[in-house]
């Protein structure tokens, strides 16, 4: 098991470097002078030169790359062009809000998605199955910003149940949760759709397994056959779903934060875009690269813990 953990850890580092390199490459393909893109073509030569130095563009590209890479690992992501504050501290201020939102969304997704998936698999081709499948197809077809707008229109404006703008920084716990509900539901509903579908196909496969037949032949109750024998095995691949849909989760959290005007990485991206703050944009992307690699690592390790075949190697 320890060997498995170490092997995964060792594999994560080159992947992280590769993803960071890709971020660097994309951010540097700006046609022309990035400083001029930021300041506009009316800017004076001195101002441009000063900005280039500030952005670290006045050294050879290869040096820029290594500065960027080592900076990323040391936690030095440069200073925001707009606020002058270190990008890392800008990110760290809002990161917990994004994590809150994402975890809440995943929890909603699992709590509703897994049972619905089991239901559709056990009663496959029934009316229940059909209805749930149509709803899950809708769920994964909804652009997250549109579902967020609809939720605001219905629950905030029509019924006045939740705030339009989500403020995650309230001292009162109940209030803070109240502000989290709609964004989390928005993210969660989409995850429910994905997780229902994965659970269904995973369960359908497992229900055909010989050991499920064995369990039936042993005369254990149907509920036990479905949960202890089938679901326990079906959940092993479902664990990887979180890693698989991380991209969806990240994209949707960005959109959700923007619509609810809720501080977080998504809002930070929007600020960076509107102010042409490339250092900030690059910094947020670096943080995402770390998040992606770490979450994938955790998923891999969890898989190892859940699957006895890996655990006992």
């Amino acid at each position: 098991m320890l060997k498995y953990v170490l092997k995964r850890l060792a594999m994560a580092i080159p992947i992280l470097i590769a993803v960071l390199t890709l971020v660097f490459v994309i951010i540097r393909i700006v046609p022309g002078d990035p400083a001029m893109v930021v300041l506009g073509d009316q800017a004076s030569a001195e101002a441009l030169a000063a900005l280039r130095t500030k952005m670290g563009l006045d050294v050879p590209l290869i040096q820029q790359y290594f500065t960027f890479l080592f900076g990323a690992f040391r936690g030095d992501l440069g200073a925001s062009l707009l606020s002058g504050r270190p990008v890392l501290s800008e990110v760290m201020t809002v990161l917990p809000y994004t994590i809150d939102l994402t975890i809440a969304g995943v929890v909603i997704g699992i709590v509703f998605g897994v049972p619905l998936g089991v239901l559709t698999a056990v009663y496959r081709n029934s009316v229940t199955d059909y209805i749930i499948r149509v709803f899950s197809l809708f769920g994964l077809s909804f652009p997250a910003f549109y579902s967020a707008i609809l939720l605001i229109l219905i629950f905030s404006i029509q019924f006045n149940l939740f705030p339009v703008i989500s403020d995650p920084d309230l001292s009162n716990y109940g209030e803070r949760m109240n502000h989290l509900v709609l964004p989390a539901v928005n993210l969660g509903l989409i995850m429910v759709a994905y997780i229902t579908r994965s659970t269904r196909s995973s369960m359908l496969e497992v229900l055909r397994e010989d050991y499920v037949r064995t369990a039936k032949a042993k005369g254990v109750p149907r509920f036990v056959v479905i949960t202890r024998h089938a679901l326990k095995n079906a959940l092993i691949p479902i664990v990887t779903v979180i890693g698989l849909y991380l991209g969806v989760l990240i994209g949707n959290s960005v959109l959700t934060e923007i619509v609810f005007n809720r501080p977080g990485l998504g809002k930070l991206i929007l600020d960076a875009l509107s102010e042409r703050d490339y250092t900030l944009l690059q910094g947020v992307m670096v943080i995402y690269a770390f998040i992606i690699v770490i979450v994938n690592l955790i998923t891999d390790l969890t898989y190892g813990f859940v699957d006895p075949r890996v655990k006992h190697q």
Binding site: I15, A18, V19, T21, L22, V23, I26, I27, I29, V30, P31, R124, N125, L137, F138, L140, S141, F142, P143, A144, F145, Y146, I149, L150, I152, L153, I157, V164, S201, L204, E205, L246, G247, V248, I250, G251, V254, L255, I258, V259, I269, L270, L273, S274, Y278, L281, M285, Y288, A289, I292, V293, N296
Partner: protein, 290 residues
């Protein structure tokens, strides 16, 4: 089984296709919705009641009426006309980006599988890194850096789509690389890649169509999302995401400006998802009898 068997003429192909569709009603529903959307987009110049970018300040923010079936926006532009024209952008960005990604990805996948060793390692390694970055973030970075326009948007989406198709093409390439007919073809002087492409395409065509349809659904959604963030095609060109963005300013007083285009995004994405999903169930023998 592959969607279109090699043998048999066009008539047989059509009959087989219909049979595949008949196995799953979802794919029919998706196809009908899709054809509806495509005809709206194609016919936009003739069926739009107004010019989509003509401003009419006197009639701004008017609700749905006989004159403006879906009302007007804050510039007094006819929302229905803008939606019809917007369909062209959504459908073309979605389709072209996925076709581009599919072409590049399939070629790279065959190359990786065929050359093996370092080539395989390099190509698939790069593909994996591209796949690690969520589609929306990739689109966001590329468009933010290169500037928001149709071409950049399309390239950005194609970049994240290509790796998925590389994977699809690579596996069967490896499995048929060493079979006899490749040897035989080589003896007859055909180039290896040509022989392989000829044998691989019939094998993966079904999967390409299914994944293509599902990825177009994603691409349409991403295009709308980027336009909503403000990284789409520049105004005043009508895009669905851009219309929602503009309507969002007045969401409290005039919600319909945002609601109507969203319905069209939803239907389009749903249509591609239903088509891909239904076809997959029809083609995948593992799920067929379930």
């Amino acid at each position: 089984m592959s969607l279109f068997p090699k043998a048999g003429g066009l008539r047989r192909t059509i009959r087989d296709t219909i049979r595949v569709f008949n196995r799953n009603k979802t794919s029919w529903a998706g196809l009908v919705l899709l054809l509806f959307m495509v005809s709206l987009a194609v016919l936009a110049p003739w069926i739009s009641p107004y010019d989509p970018i003509d401003q009419n300040i006197l009639e701004r923010l008017s609700p749905a009426s006989a004159e403006h079936l879906l009302g007007t926006d804050h510039f007094g532009r006819d929302i229905l006309s803008r939606i019809l024209w917007g369909a062209r952008i959504s459908l073309s960005v979605g389709t072209i980006s996925v076709l581009m990604g599919m072409a590049v990805g399939t070629v790279l996948g065959i190359l990786a599988g065929y050359k093996g060793k370092y080539w395989d390692y390099m190509i698939m390694g790069v593909m994996d890194v591209f796949m690690a970055i969520p589609t929306l973030l990739m689109g966001l970075m590329v468009v933010a850096v290169l500037g928001p326009n149709l071409v950049n948007l399309t390239i950005a989406i194609a970049l994240t789509v290509a790796p998925r198709f590389a994977r699809i093409a690579r596996a069967p390439t490896i499995s048929i690389k060493n079979r006899d007919f490749v040897e035989a073809g080589r003896a007859m002087g055909f180039s290896d890649l040509r022989i392989m492409a000829g044998h691989i395409f019939p094998n993966i065509l079904g999967e390409l169509i299914v994944m293509g349809s599902l990825w177009i659904a994603t691409a349409v959604r991403i295009e709308a999302s980027l336009s909503f963030i403000g990284l789409g095609v520049k105004p005043p060109t009508p895009t669905w995401g851009g219309m929602i963005r503009e309507g969002f300013q007045n969401i409290l007083s005039d919600p319909w400006i945002s609601i109507y285009p969203g319905i069209f995004i939803l239907i389009t994405v749903l249509a591609f998802n239903m088509l891909g999903d239904g076809l997959r169930d029809a083609i995948d023998p593992k799920l067929r009898n379930s």
